[in-house]
């Protein structure tokens, strides 16, 4: 294989990996905050895609302009999911992990039903966008414009998330709540409020990813499933709760997927990603960057 085509594969894997990282980091954030795995995460992604789609149908504005709206909308969806469902799942006295898994699973199926009710099971796509179908040439590499912008958005949001977590009171409250839920109540932090904001933030991040994905991917009620599975792999690989881990693992997954797609039939490329997950957790049972 020539060096240019290798670089080409590397670049497309890297861009897709950045998007995977953005999809996964919200999941990781929520887990780190309150030890809950959100099995409706893929559906948050799907809701964001439909949000962009319906706004586009109504306003005919470009999806890039609509992305912030979808992101904000998903913040609301996430906070609402916490206040309406997850908050009650946290109160379970028996079968705690089972309750969390099935409450969020139920939510996932419910959201799929709502999507199908309003949009039918048909595949939708957004056409005639500024970025869709265009490529940008950088140093001899041809990069698809939506993925390139998606990668940039991902990097910007990761930097923003890092600053938010490390420099603001909100970030400190999140960090403190994650360290010790009982103690934060004593210093006047409302645990429920922090959790609701955490869920909002987690959903907003996957919302941004969904908005980008809507530009170049089909939109249908079950679209979240495969991406959610990759997100679980990314989060587990990077370590539940680790933001940097999600970024690194997302990129690794994107690269592995891109390079194996060259070697084996594309329909098998996710096998490589899943095998990577298994290999890593068997060697390091808490992921690459997980706290042991």
């Amino acid at each position: 294989m020539q060096i240019e085509s290798l670089l080409q594969v590397f670049a497309s894997g890297l861009l897709m990996g950045l998007l995977y990282a953005l999809i996964a980091v919200g999941l990781s954030l929520i887990f780190g905050l309150m030890n809950v795995v959100n099995f409706a995460h893929g559906e948050f992604l799907m809701v964001a895609m439909y949000a962009v789609y319906s706004l586009w149908v109504v306003t005919l504005l470009d999806p890039v302009l609509l992305a912030p709206v979808a992101t904000a909308f998903l913040f609301g969806v996430g906070a609402f999911a916490y206040m309406g469902v997850v908050r009650f799942a946290m109160r379970a006295k028996s079968n705690v992990s089972m309750v969390q898994i099935f409450a969020t699973f139920g939510l996932a199926i419910f959201i799929q039903g709502v999507a199908q009710y309003f949009f039918t099971p048909d595949y939708r796509s957004i056409t005639d966008t500024w970025l869709g179908g265009k490529t940008i040439s950088i140093g001899g590499l041809f990069l698809p414009a939506p993925q390139l912008i998606g990668g940039l958005i991902s990097i910007v949001l990761f930097i923003g998330l890092y600053l938010l977590m490390s420099r603001t009171d909100f970030g400190k409250a999140l960090e403190a709540t994650r360290e010790d839920q009982g103690a934060v109540a004593l210093v006047g932090i409302n645990r429920n409020k922090v959790f609701a904001l955490g869920w909002g933030l987690g959903a907003a991040l996957v919302g941004a990813a969904g908005a980008v994905l809507a530009i170049f991917y089909y939109i249908y009620p079950q679209v979240g499933g495969p991406f959610a599975l990759i997100a679980y792999v990314v989060v587990a690989l990077g370590g539940f709760g680790s933001i940097f881990g999600a970024l690194a693992a997302g990129i690794i997954v994107g690269l592995v997927e891109a390079f194996t797609a060259v070697l084996i039939p594309p329909s098998m490329k996710t096998i490589a990603v899943y095998s990577l997950y298994l290999a890593v957790v068997f060697i390091r049972p808490n992921g690459l960057f997980g706290r042991l």
């Binding site: 009650f88 139920g106 959201i111 799929q112 096998i271 899943y274 997950y277």
Partner: protein
């Protein structure tokens, strides 16, 4: 953790009372069998008979899942893999070599139990979410491998050849009655296996592991071997259910027997009825499967998604309102005995 303490207390309940309550279960099973066996006489509608078959089948499959997840506490989200192994083993041997599905069922169940031992050997070191996601990922790898394997018909799957109705080929085109009895037999066998395990040393070990693996280990429970045994038994019966399903629909393809949806469908009845209980999966299936089938036929046929809304809503409500399962309503505090 609160959970651990209450459950440990429940396990320590007087054994005599437990033994008495245990013996009372067998007449209940006999009654359930009698009612189910006579039901087709008054219920001749083919559609309703199909619902009955599926209800019995999911009760059995959920019970199989319950053996590993409910009793031993290892939450598997990948049981579709074992279901698929059973379904494909029976279909492959029957369609390819004319081998009776009875043998196919046995081959699939044994293969599946072996596979569960291999996977358990590598996976039981993982904790909590890492374990659950590993099971999900492994099942998905299985699905992709079958999907890409020409030997098993790839995406098209395997069609069962048409032939005369017979017990040896498990094919009955004209009547659903034999399938009702087969599904009932599957349910009864799974139930009896669970019943036997519940009263044995294994049952006590498994519950101890579910409550607190470290404490169980320190008390001399062989944690790893217990988990392996639970996984093998659970996979065995799940695959038997898969072989039955393949014979019933006379067709398998990767999506229709190995998709993640099935892993979920096996878990939900148990969660609804009460996990780690003898009757939980059956009660859950009795409620969930008719609702699923009826909503799918009457409101889901149009693809409106209303069936999913109802279904998802129901799961959320049960998980949130009655996390111990519906059985705890009739037997307060006794559901875990």
């Amino acid at each position: 953790m609160n959970e651990t303490m209450t459950m440990a207390a429940a396990s320590a309940a007087p054994t005599q009372r437990a033994a008495g309550a245990r013996r009372a279960q067998l007449p209940i099973l006999a009654l359930v069998c009698a009612v189910t066996a006579l039901l087709p006489l008054v219920m001749q509608d083919v559609y309703l008979q199909n619902v009955l078959i599926l209800t019995l089948m999911y009760a059995a499959l959920s019970q199989s899942w319950n053996i590993l997840a409910g009793y031993c506490g290892q939450i598997s989200l990948g049981h579709a893999l074992y279901f698929g192994v059973g379904a494909y083993a029976a279909s492959f041997l029957f369609a390819g070599y004319g081998i009776t599905p009875w043998l196919g069922l046995l081959v699939g169940a044994v293969l599946s139990a072996g596979l569960a031992l291999v996977l358990g050997y590598v996976c039981f070191g993982l904790k909590g979410h890492y374990f659950a996601i590993a099971t999900m990922v492994i099942a998905e790898i299985g699905l992709l491998l079958v999907h890409n394997s020409e030997l098993f018909g790839a995406a098209l799957g395997i069609h069962w050849p048409l032939g005369a109705d017979s017990w040896s080929s498990m094919q009955f085109a004209r009547t659903k009655l034999p399938y009702i009895y087969l599904a009932l037999a599957l349910f009864v066998l799974t139930w009896l296996a669970t019943y036997a395990i519940e009263g044995s040393r294994w049952g006590f070990w498994w519950r101890a592991i579910k409550d607190d693996p470290e404490a169980a280990e320190s008390l001399g429970v062989e944690v790893f071997r217990s988990k392996m045994a639970a996984a093998a038994v659970s996979a065995f019966f799940t695959a038997a259910g898969g072989a039955f399903y393949a014979a019933y629909v006379a067709y398998v393809d990767p999506e229709s027997v190995m998709s993640f949806r099935f892993s979920l469908l096996f878990a939900l009845p148990a969660v609804l009825g009460g996990i780690g209980t003898l009757w939980g999966p059956a009660v859950g299936a009795l409620i969930l499967i008719p609702i699923t089938e009826l909503t799918r036929s009457y409101v889901g046929g149009s693809g409106s998604g209303l069936d999913l809304i109802i279904y998802g809503g129901l799961i959320m409500i049960v998980a949130l309102v009655k996390p111990e399962g519906l059985l705890s309503l009739v037997r307060p505090g006794g559901a875990k005995a």
